[in-house]
């Protein structure tokens, strides 16, 4: 065997190194009485620092497509960009979890948290670069099992435990369906290599069933309707940084993988999957919006918002084109900064006052003007109001879908943006207009949260205007 092939996996290898370092350092950082403050800071900063280095050394895309290990591992330059986007998301999540990690009951498991979080990221890496369905499945499971542990991380809180249980049960169920689908594919084609499969898939009834089962498994990760019912409960129960991670990083990677597999493997079934996606998009966007309108808890509201956002992302997938791919990655990036900004603010408010209901946000503008301001911009970006980045990302997605001939779908999506604006603006209204007798008291968020929010703010304002980002993604959009 040629061991130099491992060099193609440098992104995965460096992430494994990061995980190992954190793991080992954590062994020697058992909380003693004396240096607790300094150690705490070190334990929080170390993963962020290592992840930053990891991101920076892996940010330049390779020059061409590469295969390693007999096609089990496939590399394309676009993957580097997607992984970088996921890295940025993870770094922001790490930044915003710091305050939560300082809490007594959680602080003892700090190292565990980072290791689990980065393990799911590693799973996503493998999922993205897989060239074989088994490899893909291992990645998928690596990404979802630690996630259940993360969801249940606040183990003394009843809701968190519930979230963990619900997540793992639904994940098992969907994995079972997905595996069943894979076995059908293997049964009809005799191979699970992506490159070979596209020649063997001919649209027989079993293969269609296999495709739908596979799609259902991915639909679970993306929380598309009707595979979405777990979302609200899990989002509400999990620790807020984990919710942010679930809604952005996990979802982003799944969307990218779904699109690549649809294009690479299921290309002979294009008419079928476009039809499936067509209905799924309509149902996801609309139903999620309708549910979101009535939510009182901001985390549940964001859960439904993320379902409808997933529907918008699918709008890029349905095109099956290079422009669709570019807009998908750009959308994920923009969605990452905006959504994580909101979750970071929810986290600090929850940590400082324990409040998560929208009504509690009344009068936030008076007491915490900066947070309200960033929250407003992030919500505007999610709602797609120009000139924020969200407008451009939606614009590109709509344009891609429009060019691919899905005019009706674009129209429905545009009508739905109006509905989504309604519930986003409910939060803004609560913060700025609704008077409150006892608003959330003024507090100072900690340093790393502020860094995270600054990154998000720069992204929200800058990504739409700095066309270079989109250009760079565009360059690699055809490389699949």
């Amino acid at each position: 065997m040629d061991y130099s092939q491992f060099l193609y996996m440098k992104e995965e290898l460096s992430l494994i190194a990061v995980i190992l370092i954190i793991f080992v350092v954590d062994l020697f950082l058992k909380p003693g009485k004396r240096q607790e403050a300094g150690q705490a800071r070190f334990a929080i900063v170390l993963p962020i620092f290592l992840m930053t280095i990891h991101t920076l050394i892996n940010i330049i895309p390779g020059t061409g497509n590469v295969q390693a290990f007999g096609g089990m591992y496939q590399y394309a330059p676009m993957q580097t960009i997607v992984k970088a986007v996921l890295n940025i998301g993870t770094i922001i999540v790490l930044l915003m979890s710091s305050q939560w990690l300082k809490r007594k009951d959680v602080s003892i498991n700090r190292g565990e948290y980072s290791v689990l979080l980065l393990s799911t990221l590693l799973g996503m890496y493998f999922m993205i670069s897989a060239g074989h369905f088994l490899m893909f499945f291992i990645g998928l499971e690596t990404a979802s099992i630690p996630m259940a542990a993360l969801a249940a991380f606040d183990k003394y809180r009843y809701e968190s435990a519930e979230a963990g249980a619900k997540y793992i049960l639904t994940a098992m169920f969907s994995s079972a369906l997905l595996l069943f689908g894979l076995s059908l594919i293997y049964g009809t084609c005799g191979t699970l290599y992506f490159d070979d499969l596209s020649h063997h898939i001919n649209g027989s009834m079993l293969q269609i069933a296999a495709f739908v089962l596979f799609f259902a498994g991915m639909g679970f990760k993306l929380s598309l309707v009707p595979f979405h019912l777990w979302t609200a409960d899990v989002y509400e129960g999990s620790p807020t940084p984990v919710t942010g991670y679930l809604s952005v990083v996990s979802k982003g990677s799944a969307a990218f993988v779904l699109m690549t597999i649809l294009i690479k493997v299921f290309v002979p079934l294009i008419a079928d999957w476009q039809e499936v996606l067509f209905w799924i998009i309509i149902v996801s966007i609309t139903l999620a919006n309708i549910f979101a309108v009535r939510q009182k808890n901001i985390k549940r509201l964001m859960a439904f918002s993320s379902i409808s956002q997933a529907g918008y992302i699918m709008l890029a997938v349905i095109t099956g084109s290079a422009i669709g791919m570019t807009s998908l990655v750009f959308y994920i990036l923009v969605y990452t900064v905006a959504n994580l900004a909101i979750f970071a603010i929810i986290t600090v408010i929850e940590q400082n006052s324990g409040k998560v209901s929208i009504n509690d946000y009344a009068g936030l503008y008076k007491t915490n003007p900066k947070l309200s301001f960033i929250m407003t911009l992030a919500l505007f970006s999610l709602g797609g109001i120009p000139p924020f980045a969200g407008f451009f990302s939606k614009f590109f997605i709509f344009m891609a879908a429009f060019k691919a001939g899905f005019e009706l779908l674009v129209f429905i999506a545009v009508v739905n943006t109006i509905i989504s604006l309604y519930y986003y603006l409910l939060i803004v209204k609560a913060m700025y207009i609704t008077p409150s007798d006892e608003p959330i008291p003024t507090f100072k968020s900690d340093c790393s949260t502020r860094v995270g929010l600054t990154i998000c703010l720069v992204g929200i304002i800058g990504l739409g205007i700095a066309s270079i980002v989109y250009q760079t993604i565009y360059q690699y959009g055809f490389g699949l």
Partner: protein, 631 residues
């Protein structure tokens, strides 16, 4: 030439810095910072111009068109269409760099004295920087879309600066009027750009022989015509001129910079920029431009004769002079300067000289207004005794605008008149007559301010004195330019319609007629307004009372607008639309909200919290999808 990017970035930086950090700076620091940045920009512009014009010409005798930067800002996925932002250097854009940076620097220095102690001094300088950045970005635009982008930015900064004294109701009304009127005109510009982009297939400025231009040949006249509507709005052509006189509510240096020298000539620049296409595909549209402009020039000159507010006289004079420039462009029939293309060079020449002397006139007016605390001529008179420097500068500029040699205005106006005579003698005589009116109203203004009947009572109460050095130095510089520029610089060597060097020479007959007529007009103005008692003027005013009142009220154009907008548009068009909006459109959205809410209430049971039910739905959904595909 990579350095040119800083010409745009530095004022932007200054705007951001002064805008964000301004309130922590002292007035002095903010003003010095803004002025220093602009000084650097001016030096860079001069350097650019020097290297550009001293570089060897191309083989066919033209200056190279340089594009040091051209970033793709927004891809459109429609063929070759994209929105770019960049820097384009060719003779006219380089010339505009000089005009804008020079006048802007003068205004920056002058404002130091004029705005001394005003509230919002830092904000004022921030806006000036924003304006300068936008205007520079406009002239170096590499494509029509970038031009539009900065065009609107210029409009915004103009709006902000006209409304600078936002506690004064007239200033607020004027700023709104300016913005709405120009925005309305820009609608035409935008539609023109879209038509141009759609049929030509690019937003770039293309030459008449490129395949892109030929492909869209039949729609180009329409596109250019619509673009000119935008240009007419910014350049205050009749009937879109109504905003400019009101814009005088802004601080006087702003009037000098924006509403005399730079922004209002954007329309002229636009026509000049599209000139090759005008000549090749739409000569008739170009001639329409000339007729509109000639009428505007006449109308504005007639109104200027009957105004008593000195800034309004200057405003109407600006409208009239811009009319001259557009007439010069409009009478062109080819790109050969010797055969019908002279007007292009004349228009650019006049743009340059007019920017200098009109800025000087406005700055002088600012000095005077600051001393007598009024815009009305009756509060002045006899000011020559108190303000000698201002007096001389004003006189120089008046002589220039009247076309008296050797001042710069004589040379540029002479070229315009020659171009008009070459096009059509009738046009030539009309423009000569308007030039005579120009000389008359300018000297009416001059004698009214500096000679004539002195308002002794007012002047003893507040004794006027000469303005401080920060204000007089710009006047002196601009007067010197006005005095020397015409006969020391051979303009045709740098700018000509086909790009080749060309020797412009005075046409003796035209020159002599225009000078004689101008001198006669000045003499008439002298006899009417120089003395204490203005018998002749008063009796004429009595005899033609109706005409005078009409002219004084600008021939009631504003009232016509008022009638059209309020009665016709608001009453007959807006009301029904508003009804439709309130009942049908809002109804649709209320229905959407109501049905969303109702549905949301009905289906809330789905989200029961029971995991068994979740998987059940999951499975049913999967099976349904399989059925959907198989059946």
């Amino acid at each position: 030439m990579e350095i040119t990017i800083f010409i745009i970035l530095l004022p932007l930086l200054s705007f951001v810095f002064l805008g964000l950090a301004g309130k922590w700076l002292s007035h002095r620091a903010a003003g010095l910072f803004g002025t220093a940045v602009l000084g650097v920009v001016t030096i860079l512009s001069y350097y650019t111009a020097y290297t550009y014009f001293t570089a060897p010409r191309l083989a066919d005798g033209t200056f190279a068109t340089l594009v040091p930067y051209n970033f793709q800002w927004l891809p459109l996925f429609l063929g070759a269409m994209k929105f770019n932002l960049g820097v384009l250097l060719d003779p006219i854009s380089v010339m505009m760099l000089i005009v804008i940076s020079t006048v802007s620097l003068m205004v920056h220095i002058y404002s130091f004295g004029y705005m001394h102690g005003e509230r919002g001094f830092q904000r004022y300088y921030a806006f000036l920087s924003l304006f300068t950045m936008s205007m520079l970005g406009l002239v170096v635009a590499t494509n029509i879309f970038q031009m539009y982008l900065f065009w609107e930015l210029v409009g915004v900064s103009s709006y902000l600066l006209i409304g600078f004294y936002f506690t004064k109701a007239p200033a607020v009304a004027a700023s709104k009027k300016a913005f709405i009127v120009t925005r309305f005109a820009d609608l035409g510009f935008l539609i023109g750009i879209l038509i141009y982009g759609f049929y030509v297939g690019t937003f770039d400025f293309v030459g008449p022989n490129t395949s892109a231009a030929v492909g869209g040949a039949k729609m180009i006249p329409l596109a250019l015509g619509l673009m000119f509507i935008g240009g007419a709005g910014k350049s205050a052509m009749f009937p879109l001129h109504i905003w400019l006189p009101d814009a005088m509510e802004g601080p006087t240096p702003v009037s000098a910079l924006i509403h005399a020298a730079t922004m209002v000539v954007a329309g002229v620049y636009l026509v000049a920029r599209m000139f090759p296409l005008f000549i090749a595909f739409a000569p008739n549209v170009l001639h329409i431009v000339a007729y509109v402009a000639a009428f505007t020039a006449f109308y504005a000159a007639a109104v200027a004769i009957a105004q008593t507010d000195i800034k309004r006289v200057l405003a109407f004079s600006t409208i009239s002079q811009i009319g001259f420039m557009l007439v010069a462009l409009g009478v062109c029939t080819s790109v050969e300067p010797e055969a019908g293309g002279l007007g292009y060079m004349a228009a650019m020449f006049h743009l340059f000289t007019h920017a200098m002397f009109k800025a000087c006139l406005f700055l002088c007016a600012g000095c005077i207004i600051e001393q007598v605390h009024s815009n009305e001529m009756e509060m002045m008179g006899g000011m020559r005794k108190y303000m000698p420097i201002t007096h001389i500068a004003f006189l120089f500029s008046c002589l220039a605008i009247s076309g008296i040699p050797p001042f710069s205005g004589f040379f540029s106006k002479d070229e315009i008149l020659s171009a008009c005579f070459a096009f059509n003698p009738i046009m030539g005589w009309i423009m000569t007559a308007i030039a005579a009116m120009t000389a008359f109203y300018m000297f009416r203004l001059y004698y009214g301010i500096f000679w004539g009947k002195e308002n002794i009572e007012h002047h003893t109460a507040h004794k006027p004195h000469e303005a401080p050095a920060t204000m007089t130095i710009p006047l002196i510089i601009l007067s010197v330019i006005t005095f020397f520029f015409g006969w020391t610089v051979s303009f045709g060597h740098f700018i000509s319609p086909n790009g080749k060097s060309f020797d412009s020479h005075l046409e003796t007959s035209v020159a002599i007629t225009s000078v004689v007529i101008a001198v006669l007009s000045i003499l008439i103005a002298r006899t009417m307004y120089r003395n204490e008692k203005q018998v002749l003027a008063d009796s004429l005013q009595k005899r033609f009372k109706g005409l005078w009142t009409a002219a004084h009220h600008r021939f009631y154009i504003d009232e016509v607008y008022q009638f059209v907008t309020h009665r016709i548009i608001f009453g007959c068009v807006s009301r029904p639309i508003a009804w439709f909006d309130r009942h049908v459109v809002d109804g649709f959205f209320n229905f959407l909200a109501w049905s969303t809410n109702a549905l949301s209430y009905q289906i809330r049971g789905f989200q029961s919290g029971e995991i068994q039910q979740y998987t059940y739905v999951f499975l049913i959904g999967t099976l349904l999808l399989i059925l959907l595909l198989i059946l």
